[in-house]
C-alpha cells in the first residue's frame, strides 16, 4: 500500500528521517517551513504513528533583569579593577570614574575586599594583586555574555554564584524531541499528494480528483443545526383527530366565531333567563351589540317552542320570548352552535363533527383558558336510540382516546334529554372525564322540521394532547415558544403512549 502524504508533511518527515531524533526547536531552525506548519505536520504525523514524540522537561536558567544589565554593562568589580589598576582612586571619586552607582560601587568594593584584592587607606582604594585581579570574575562575565546568546553554563559553582548574586533564575524548559522508526528507504517511497478539503465540479470534470487526497473529517463533530419546517403539534394532533372522526363516517362542519345568541342558546332551548346567558358567563361585543335574525320559519318556531312548547309536545318555558335578546352577539362559547346551524339543513342519515375555537370568560392559569377548542358533533337517523348513543361514545373512547374501559354517568345540558357524561380509563390516571352527550330535545329539533332523534356529543381532546406531550399547562397549546415548535419531537398520530 503506497503511503501518501501532503507535500509539506512529507518534507517534515524526511527531515526527521535524515536527522534522527531531533528537538523540534532545532528542526524549526534548520527548516524553510514556518513553525506553525511544522507543528501541524508533526501533529498529524504523530496521530498517524509515523513519528514519535517525546516530551521531557529540564531545569534550566535564564537571565534576570539585573543579570541582563550586568551582562551588557559589565560587572561592578571588574569596572572597579579597571579604574584602580594603574593608580589608586579615592572612594568619593570611584563611583563616577568607574561609571557605577553608589550602591553598585559599594557592592563591588565589598566583593573585592572579601577576595583580598584591594585595600583602603585613608579613603584611597588600592589594587593589591593586579595579576590575580585580571582574571577575577571573568568567568562570571563570560558566562553572563554566553547566557545573552542563549547558552547556559554547566559549572554548578558558577551557577550558584550567579544565582546568589541574582543574575539568573531557574526555569523549567520543555524539550520536545521527534523521531521516526521509518527507514529512509521507506520514506523515499512515500508519495507527495496534494490534500484538498472539497471535491469540486472541476475535479470531477477533469478527473483531477484521482490525484489528490481528501482531508479526513472528524465524523464525530456535532453538525450545524438544520431547522426543519414543522407542523404545529397541537394543530397536527387535531388533524389526526379529524382523520379518526372521518374514519367513523363524520363530515366536518364550520361556522362563524362571532355568534348570535339565537344559534348558541335559543335554538338549543336554553331559556332566555338561563344563568349561562348572563353577562359574566359570556363575552359580548362592544359594537355592534346585536345582529339580525334571519327571516326564516324556524325563528318563529323556536320562539313558539320557548313560549308554550309549540307542537313539540312540551309545555315550553312559559315566558315571552324576546327576539332582541336572541339577536345579541357574543363570541362563540360552545361548538354546539355549529350543530344548531346545521340542523337548519339536515337530511338523514347524517353524521357531522366540528373542531371549533370557543371563548368564555374565565381566569387564566395552568388549567383554565379563555380561548379553547371544542370537538363536537351530531348523529341523525330515524332509527337511532339512546343505546346507540352509548355505543357511539364507547367507540369514541376506544378509537380516539385508545381507552378500553368506559364509564357513563348522569349529566345535564339544557338541550338534551337524557344527558350522559363519558369517562375513559387512562392507564395511569384512572377514569378521566372525556366527553358529554345526549339526545337533542324535540324543542330543539322540531322547529327545524326534524322529526327523528338527533344525538349530540362532545369530546375533550385538549387533555389527550396534554397527556401525550406531557404538558401540564394549558397555555402551551397555543405555544409561544419557538424552540418548542422547532424541536418538539414529531409524532405520527394521536396515541398517548408509554
Amino acid at each position: 500500500m503506497t503511503l501518501q502524504l501532503r507535500p509539506d508533511h512529507l518534507a517534515v518527515l524526511k527531515a526527521i528521517g535524515s536527522s534522527g531524533p531531533i528537538l523540534v526547536t532545532e528542526l524549526v531552525k534548520s527548516s524553510d517551513l514556518n513553525r506553525g506548519t511544522i507543528e501541524a505536520a508533526i501533529g498529524t504525523l504523530v496521530q498517524d504513528c509515523h513519528v514519535n514524540r517525546e516530551v521531557n522537561t529540564e531545569i534550566t536558567y535564564q537571565l534576570t533583569e539585573r543579570g541582563k544589565e550586568a551582562a551588557t554593562d559589565g560587572l561592578a568589580e571588574r569596572k572597579i579593577i579597571a579604574s584602580i589598576r594603574d593608580e589608586a582612586v579615592h572612594m568619593k571619586d570611584l563611583a563616577d570614574q568607574a561609571g557605577l552607582s553608589k550602591g553598585d560601587m559599594t557592592a563591588g568594593i565589598g566583593i573585592l575586599r572579601k577576595a583580598g584584592l584591594i585595600s583602603i587607606n585613608k579613603g584611597q582604594v588600592i589594587l593589591d594583586k593586579p595579576e590575580k585581579a585580571d582574571e577575577f570574575s571573568k568567568d562570571i562575565e563570560n558566562a553572563l555574555k554566553a547566557l545573552l546568546q542563549g547558552t547556559v553554563p554547566e559549572d554548578t559553582d558558577l551557577i550558584e554564584q550567579m544565582k546568589n548574586r541574582n543574575f539568573i533564575e531557574e526555569v523549567e524548559k520543555t524539550n520536545v524531541t521527534v523521531s521516526t522508526k521509518l527507514t529512509k528507504a521507506k520514506i523515499k517511497k512515500i508519495k507527495a499528494v496534494e490534500e484538498v478539503t472539497r471535491l469540486t465540479p472541476k475535479m470531477l470534470a477533469d478527473g483531477s480528483w484521482k490525484d489528490v487526497s481528501f482531508k479526513p473529517y472528524s465524523v464525530k463533530t456535532k453538525p450545524r443545526v438544520l431547522h426543519a419546517g414543522r407542523y404545529q403539534p397541537y394543530r397536527q394532533f387535531i388533524e389526526h383527530l379529524k382523520r379518526k372522526l372521518i374514519g367513523l363516517g363524520f363530515q366536518e362542519m364550520k361556522g362563524p366565531l362571532i355568534e348570535q345568541e339565537f344559534w348558541n342558546f335559543d335554538a338549543l332551548y336554553a331559556p332566555q333567563d338561563h344563568s349561562a346567558r348572563e353577562d359574566n358567563d359570556i363575552l359580548l361585543l362592544k359594537e355592534p351589540t346585536h345582529g339580525q335574525l334571519l327571516d326564516e320559519d324556524y325563528i318563529t318556531n323556536v320562539a313558539a317552542a320557548h313560549e308554550d312548547g309549540w307542537t313539540t309536545g312540551s309545555i315550553g318555558h312559559q315566558y315571552k320570548w324576546d327576539p332582541r335578546k336572541a339577536a345579541r352577539l357574543l363570541l362563540r362559547p360552545q361548538g354546539t352552535a355549529i350543530s344548531a346551524r346545521t340542523l337548519a339543513d339536515l337530511e338523514p342519515p347524517a353524521k357531522y363533527f366540528s373542531v371549533a375555537r370557543c371563548f368564555r370568560p374565565d381566569q387564566i392559569d395552568a388549567t383554565h383558558a379563555i380561548e379553547f377548542n371544542q370537538t363536537e358533533g351530531i348523529i341523525c337517523d330515524p332509527d337511532i336510540t339512546f343505546r346507540d348513543l352509548l355505543g357511539m361514545l364507547k367507540t369514541f373512547a376506544v378509537e380516539v382516546a385508545g381507552a378500553e374501559e368506559v364509564r357513563f354517568r348522569p349529566d345535564y345540558y339544557p338541550f338534551t334529554a337524557p344527558s350522559v357524561e363519558l369517562s375513559a380509563r387512562h392507564p395511569v390516571l384512572g377514569f378521566v372525564e372525556f366527553g358529554g352527550a345526549g339526545i337533542f330535545r324535540p324543542e330543539v329539533t322540531k322547529p327545524f322540521g326534524i322529526d327523528y332523534p338527533v344525538l349530540a356529543w362532545g369530546l375533550g381532546v385538549g387533555r389527550l394532547f396534554m397527556t401525550k406531550y406531557e404538558i401540564s399547562d394549558i397555555r402551551e397549546l397555543y405555544s409561544q415558544n419557538l424552540n418548542w415548535l422547532r424541536s418538539e419531537k414529531a409524532s405520527a398520530g394521536m396515541e398517548v403512549n408509554s
Binding site: G229, Y231, Q232, K242, I246, G249, F250, Q251, E252, M253, K254, P256, L257, I258, W263, D273, S275, D279, K286, G291, L294, G313, S314, I315, Y319, L329, L331, A344, P349, A350, R357, F359, P361, D362, Q363, I364, I370, E371, I379, D383, I384, T385, F386, R387, D388, G391, F408, R409, Y412, A417, V420, R441, E443, Y478, S479, Q480, N481, L482, L485, R486
Partner: protein, 576 residues
C-alpha cells in the same frame, strides 16, 4: 351548576346508611343525583363532620342542591321508592298580598315547619341552600329569593305589601331604624341588591299581624324579629319573586329539606288580590306534576324493551309514582319537578334509574361518508407547501391586546375598532380584541422569541374576524413572517412566488402605501385584478415597537379571495 359543601357523615345518615362511605363510594352514590365529588375530604372536625364538596350539574333541579335533596333522591333506589312525603296541615297563617306588588315582585309562597332541632351545622346547611338557590336558580334573588324566620312572636295575618322609600325599620345587624333608601346606601345587602328595586318608587315589605317588620324582600330581614338561633324550634319559610313557578320551587327546596331533618310541615294560605292572580294559593304546593307517557315511545327512544311494570319501578326509584294505564302510563312527580317539560324528561328519569352502566350499548348502522370540509383540504394544501419551504407553523390565539393591533403598529385605535371586534366585558385587556389580521399576532409571537437563534421563518393559517360594512365575517388568512439579518423583500417574495406557483395562481405585485411596511419595499398582491393581500419589509419603527432587533419581511393573504379555492367567509347573520 353550584358546588355545595357537605358532611360525609351527615349525608350518609340522611341516606339511611349505617356506615360512612369513602369519597369514591360517595361519588358513585351522588351520580344518581346528577352530581359528583369535587374535592378532597377535610376532617373530621371536632363535631365528627368530614367536609367535602359536591358539584351538582343541573341548573333546573334546585331540589338537588343540598345534602338533603341528594339523599332524598338516592333513597329512592335504597329504601324509599315512590313520592316523598308532601303532606302539610294548615298552620293557620295567612299572607295578604297587596295589589301594588304586581309590577314589582308579585309572587310569594310560605310554609311553617315545627319541631326542629337546630345546631350550628344545620343552620349553616340552611343558609347554604338559601345562598345557592337564591344565586343560581333565583338569578341572584331577582327571580326568587328565600327568607327564613323564627316564628315565635310572628302573628298572622302577614301583610306582603309595598312601602315608600322613606319607610323606616332596623335591618339585620344594625341597631337603629333607617329608611329604605338609606339601607340601599349603607347596608351591605342593600348595596348589593339595590339594583333589583331601583326602578320602583315603592318597595316590597313583609309585616306581621302586629305591624312588626319581618323583612324587605329580597334585600334584608329585620334585626328585631324572627332571628333563627340554635334555640329555635319552629320556623317560617317564605319565598318571593317575579316568576311564580320559581317561587314555589324555591320554597320546596328549603321546606322539604327541613322535613327531611325531622320537621313537621304546615301550609300557609296566600291571599292574592283579584287584580292579578286567579286564585289564592295554599303553599307549599302539593299538586303533583303529571305527565302521560307511551311505553312504546319510550322504549323506541331509549332502545329498550321495558315492560310497564319495569318502567313504573324505575320511576319510583327516582321518587315519582306512576299509574299503569295499558298503552300509557300516568307519571306523577313531586310538585317541584317543574323541570319536566316533555316526556323525554321522563325517559331521562327512567334511563338514569336503570344506571347507564347497566344499559348495554348498541352500534347503530348509520352509514355515512366521512370527509373534512373542502376549505380544510385547501388549508392543508397551503400548510404543506409552506412546510416544504422549511417554515415553521404557529397556531396562536385569536384574541389579542388592542395595543398589538394599534399603537404597536403606529395605528390609531379608532380606525382599528371600526374593523376589528372588541369585547365589551373582557377578562383582561391582553385578550380583549378579536384579531382581524394575523401578522400583528406573529409580530407579538416574535417579540417573545428574540433570544432564539435567527433566522426565524414562521407562518400561520388561521381564522380572523373582520367587520365589513354591516357584516361580521369570519375568514381564513395565511401570514408568513421571516426574521433575520438576511430577510428582505427578496426572500419573502421568493416564498410568495413559490406558494402561488404551486397553487397555480398568476399574480401581480403593485406598490401600495401600507404603513405596516417599509416605503419602497411594499406591495399589494393582485390576483385576477383583485387585491388578495400584501407583502413587504416590516417598517423598522414597528420592528422596534415590538422590541425586536432584526429585519423582518412578511406577507398576508385573505384566502377567501383566492379564485378556484374553496374558502368561505362565514357571515354571523347568515346561515349558509
Amino acid at each position: 351548576m353550584p358546588t355545595i359543601d357537605i358532611s360525609i357523615e351527615d349525608i350518609c345518615r340522611l341516606m339511611g346508611l349505617d356506615e360512612t362511605l369513602s369519597p369514591e363510594e360517595l361519588d358513585q352514590k351522588v351520580a344518581f343525583a346528577i352530581a359528583e365529588v369535587d374535592s378532597e375530604p377535610e376532617g373530621p372536625d371536632e363535631n365528627g363532620h368530614t367536609k367535602i364538596a359536591i358539584d351538582v350539574k343541573t341548573s333546573n333541579r334546585p331540589d338537588l342542591w343540598s345534602a338533603e335533596g341528594i339523599a332524598r333522591l338516592v333513597r329512592g333506589q335504597l329504601d324509599q321508592p315512590g313520592l316523598p312525603p308532601l303532606d302539610a296541615e294548615p298552620s293557620g297563617y295567612e299572607i295578604e298580598v297587596d295589589p301594588s306588588l304586581e309590577e314589582v315582585r308579585p309572587y310569594i309562597a310560605a310554609a311553617v315547619v315545627r319541631g326542629l332541632d337546630f345546631d350550628d351545622f344545620l343552620i349553616k346547611q340552611m343558609i347554604q341552600i338559601q345562598d345557592k338557590v337564591d344565586f343560581s336558580f333565583g338569578r341572584r334573588r331577582k327571580r326568587s329569593s328565600i327568607g327564613i324566620y323564627n316564628i315565635n312572636m310572628i302573628e298572622s295575618p302577614i301583610s306582603y305589601t309595598s312601602v315608600d322609600r322613606d319607610f323606616k325599620f332596623v335591618p339585620l345587624q344594625f341597631d337603629q331604624e333607617i329608611t329604605v333608601d338609606e339601607i340601599f346606601e349603607q347596608h351591605p345587602k342593600g348595596i348589593e341588591y339595590a339594583h333589583i328595586l331601583e326602578d320602583y318608587d315603592k318597595v316590597p315589605m313583609l309585616i306581621d299581624g302586629n305591624d312588626r317588620v319581618l323583612s324587605m324582600p329580597p334585600i334584608i330581614n329585620s334585626n328585631d324579629v324572627g332571628r333563627v338561633t340554635v334555640e329555635s324550634t319552629d320556623v317560617l319559610v317564605e319565598t318571593t319573586g317575579t316568576n311564580r313557578d320559581a317561587v314555589l320551587v324555591a320554597l320546596s327546596c328549603v321546606v322539604q329539606a327541613l322535613r327531611d331533618r325531622g320537621g313537621q310541615v304546615q301550609s300557609v294560605e296566600i291571599k292574592y288580590p283579584e287584580e292579578y292572580a286567579a286564585e289564592n294559593e295554599i303553599t307549599p304546593e302539593q299538586k303533583l306534576v303529571e305527565t302521560e307517557i307511551k311505553p312504546a315511545e319510550i322504549n323506541t327512544y331509549l332502545g329498550t324493551d321495558l315492560s310497564n311494570e319495569e318502567i313504573i319501578e324505575l320511576l319510583r326509584k327516582r321518587r315519582n309514582d306512576a299509574v299503569d294505564q295499558g298503552d300509557t302510563i300516568l307519571v306523577k312527580s313531586p310538585p317541584w319537578r317543574k323541570d319536566i317539560l316533555h316526556w323525554v324528561d321522563i325517559s331521562e328519569d327512567i334511563a338514569m334509574a336503570m344506571d347507564y352502566n347497566r344499559i348495554e350499548p348498541t352500534q347503530a348502522n348509520v352509514v355515512t361518508a366521512g370527509k373534512v370540509d373542502v376549505s380544510t383540504e385547501d388549508e392543508n394544501l397551503i400548510r404543506e407547501i409552506l412546510i416544504g419551504m422549511q417554515l415553521i407553523e404557529v397556531m396562536d390565539y385569536t384574541l389579542t391586546d388592542p395595543e398589538i393591533l394599534s399603537t404597536k403598529l403606529n395605528r390609531e385605535f379608532d380606525a382599528v375598532g371600526r374593523v376589528a371586534v372588541e369585547i365589551a366585558n373582557p377578562v383582561t385587556a391582553t385578550f380583549s380584541m378579536v384579531r382581524n389580521e394575523i401578522l400583528p399576532i406573529l409580530l407579538s409571537f416574535e417579540s417573545k422569541n428574540t433570544h432564539v437563534d435567527y433566522p426565524h421563518r414562521v407562518f400561520e393559517v388561521g381564522e380572523i374576524v373582520s367587520k365589513e360594512d354591516d357584516r361580521i365575517l369570519t375568514k381564513t388568512h395565511v401570514a408568513v413572517l421571516l426574521s433575520g439579518a438576511n430577510e428582505t423583500f427578496e426572500t419573502i417574495s421568493s416564498v410568495l412566488n413559490t406558494l402561488m406557483r404551486l397553487l397555480d395562481l398568476d399574480y401581480e405585485l403593485e406598490v401600495n402605501d401600507l404603513e405596516l411596511l417599509l416605503e419602497g419595499r411594499r406591495a399589494d398582491i393582485i390576483v385576477q385584478g383583485v387585491p388578495v393581500g400584501h407583502i413587504g419589509e416590516i417598517h423598522p419603527s414597528i420592528i422596534t415597537n415590538f422590541g425586536i432587533e432584526v429585519p423582518m419581511s412578511a406577507l398576508e393573504i385573505d384566502l377567501t379571495r383566492l379564485p378556484g379555492y374553496r374558502f368561505q367567509a362565514y357571515d354571523t347573520n347568515l346561515n349558509s
